[in-house]
């Protein structure tokens, strides 16, 4: 397949998915529609995870932190200040970005698996804090009775699940379009260069840590917007929405979707959430067991490791590469692909316990 044909195929697939997403609420019942709205919300969080994991090379289990910050901030604004969607989305973005700004010093100097560890701790602590800070968050009972949203001033509140779903779809679409446009600018180049070879990028005079910090805050804002959409979609929020399992599911979805691809992140996350919901409907009580099995299976199914797989996928999708030699000879540049400082440049990153 020529690169042009491949690009066309990817675009056609994207448009097809978008059409399906728009037509969806007319073909299923209200409950399923609200389920899809929530899936879409998690898909957007997945996008922020992909931005960090795949593009910035900071694998994260902690995007539930800014997601929760955005959700609670939006909920409070919705209850006490304004039911206008624009206000809530901006509040969510600001809260998520602020959260990320406060936690960025914890993350930005670490790399690889240490980032996973630190972000996991951040996400979990956020949930714990949300559960304890009863006066603001309603504790483990959560915040209920959030009024219906009106997208802009003067519009009627969205009363149906279908309307709320479409609102969610529009906001998610706008955010993703904005992100894709941003990443197509030369700024996206710098991020990819930093992920490829951090030491080399520094040596060219780039302030990699600064780029990573900006990306982290941006990803926080995206997750915060998703939080605001969660409030719209389910009109209720509790710490259970941000648990460890949610973080892990997001990471799984992003990995399945190809880590470095934004469209892949949405599709992968949606797939994983759908499987979870389907399993828990099918076999109530056994869902976690089967889901655990799914994680294990995923880990086994990718022959070159999930990072390798996503790199291959990214290679396929990034049609501008003119594969003269097969993609197989490409040095590992996946999720763990940020060589630690001082490591010989170009060395394939293998987990150091296993290089024998």
């Amino acid at each position: 397949m020529t690169p042009a044909a491949r690009r066309w195929l990817v675009r056609a697939g994207g448009v097809g998915l978008l059409l399906v997403a728009i037509a969806l609420p007319w073909s299923v019942d209200a409950y399923t529609t609200s389920l899809f709205a929530r899936t879409l919300v998690l898909g957007l969080v997945g996008v922020s995870v992909a931005l960090l994991t795949g593009l910035a090379g900071l694998p994260t289990l902690g995007q539930t932190g800014p997601y929760a910050a955005g959700a609670y901030a939006s909920a409070l604004v919705a209850m006490h200040v304004s039911s206008v969607g624009v206000v809530q989305v901006l509040t969510g973005a600001a809260a998520g970005a602020l959260f990320a700004l406060l936690t960025v010093p914890l993350v930005v100097y670490a790399r690889g698996v240490v980032v996973l560890m630190i972000t996991l701790a951040i996400g979990e602590l956020t949930v714990t804090a949300a559960g304890r800070w009863t006066s603001v968050t309603g504790g483990t009972d959560g915040l209920a009775g959030i009024p219906a949203i009106q997208p802009v001033w003067g519009m009627a509140p969205l009363a149906s699940d279908r309307a709320r779903y479409l609102y969610t779809l529009v906001v998610v679409g706008v955010v993703i379009a904005a992100m894709v446009m941003l990443l197509r600018t030369p700024a996206g180049l710098l991020l990819r260069a930093s992920r490829d070879d951090e030491a080399r990028t520094r040596a060219s005079g780039h302030r990699v840590t600064g780029y990573l910090a900006v990306t982290f805050v941006g990803a926080g804002a995206v997750a915060g917007i998703a939080g605001s959409l969660l409030i719209t979609a389910q009109q209720y929020v509790s710490p259970a929405d941000f648990g460890f399992d949610v973080s892990a599911l997001l990471l799984l979805g992003v990995v399945i979707g190809g880590a470095a691809s934004i469209g892949g992140a949405i599709v992968g996350t949606a797939l994983v959430i759908a499987v979870r919901d389907w399993l828990s409907g099918l076999l109530p009580g056994y869902a976690p067991l089967l889901l655990g099995g799914l994680f294990v299976l995923t880990a086994y199914l990718f022959p070159r490791g999930v990072a390798g797989f996503s790199t291959e996928l990214a290679n396929l999708v990034r049609s501008r590469s003119r594969g003269r030699t097969g993609p197989g000879d490409r040095p590992g540049t996946g999720i763990q692909g940020r060589p630690s400082r001082g490591e010989p440049v170009g060395a394939a990153p293998v987990s150091s316990g296993e290089t024998r």
Binding site: P186, R200, S204, P331
Partner: protein, 253 residues
């Protein structure tokens, strides 16, 4: 010594680098004049690469000082040194594998083109970054593979690409660490041409084992042995100096 000795661009004064009890570079003095082509030779383990690392800022000195263009840079990190005009080419080509060739040059030349201010509009980006990058690729003979990802370039092409990247940083001093290593005969020939064509506003400090390349290019040759400076002079002097022969013979023995 040479005609260039009057206007030094780079001076290293008694620089020392230790690794544990091993003294890799032992009180070495070095002067590179403006526009000079200066080669460092010596047997394996003589401290050549370490000395380049010290000048490029990849490792810090344990003693002595380094001046560049009249300014003390002993304490500056590699990024700062890159910004003030010290470019570097590594023994193993350091390129960004998932970026295309032209993108590699763009990212490498980013700061010389004004950083983010240089890319505020698409037209500006083309004019300030993309077009100069294409011109550089053309100069090193890579125009045909400009939009190939670096991961898919051959070793020799990556070396050429790295030279283009180093030049994109508009260096006043180019540090070359065994640029001919791993290249085929044809590629070495092309490299020699490329280096010979470099404008004289770029000074070159070259570490190389291929002595034919060194004698063809260098104005001055400095010989290191066991971390110490043995001698320094014009290629003809060095070629016949007994001290040089001794250093190499000792290393072989």
């Amino acid at each position: 010594m040479t005609a260039f000795a009057t206007t030094p661009l780079l001076t290293a004064e008694a620089v020392v680098r230790r690794y544990g009890s091993l003294v890799a570079v032992d009180r070495v003095d070095l002067r590179v004049a403006d526009g000079e082509r200066h080669a460092l030779i010596g047997p394996n383990g003589a401290g050549k690469t370490t000395l380049l690392d010290l000048i490029g800022g990849a490792t810090r000195v344990d003693g002595g000082r380094i001046r560049f263009d009249g300014r003390d840079i002993t304490r500056l990190g590699p990024a700062r040194r890159a910004r003030i005009g010290i470019g570097r080419i590594h023994q193993r080509p350091a390129v960004w594998p998932s970026l295309t060739a032209v993108e590699n040059v763009v990212v490498a030349g980013w700061h010389q083109a004004g950083g983010f201010r240089g890319v505020r509009t698409r037209a500006r980006y083309r004019r300030r970054l993309r077009e100069p990058a294409m011109a550089l690729l053309d100069r090193v003979g890579l125009a045909g593979v400009a939009s190939t990802t670096a991961a898919h370039l051959s070793h020799g092409e990556r070396r050429q690409l790295e030279i283009a990247m180093a030049l994109a940083g508009r260096p006043r001093l180019l540090l070359l660490d065994e640029p001919a290593a791993g290249l085929s005969g044809v590629e070495v020939h092309r490299l020699a041409e490329l280096l010979a064509e470099l404008p004289r506003d770029v000074s070159v400090l070259l570490v190389e084992h291929r002595l034919d390349l060194v004698y063809a290019l260098a104005d001055t040759v400095t010989v290191l042995h066991d971390g110490r400076l043995v001698t320094s002079g014009e290629p003809d002097e060095i070629r016949n100096a007994p001290a040089v022969r001794r250093a190499y013979a000792e290393a072989v023995r």
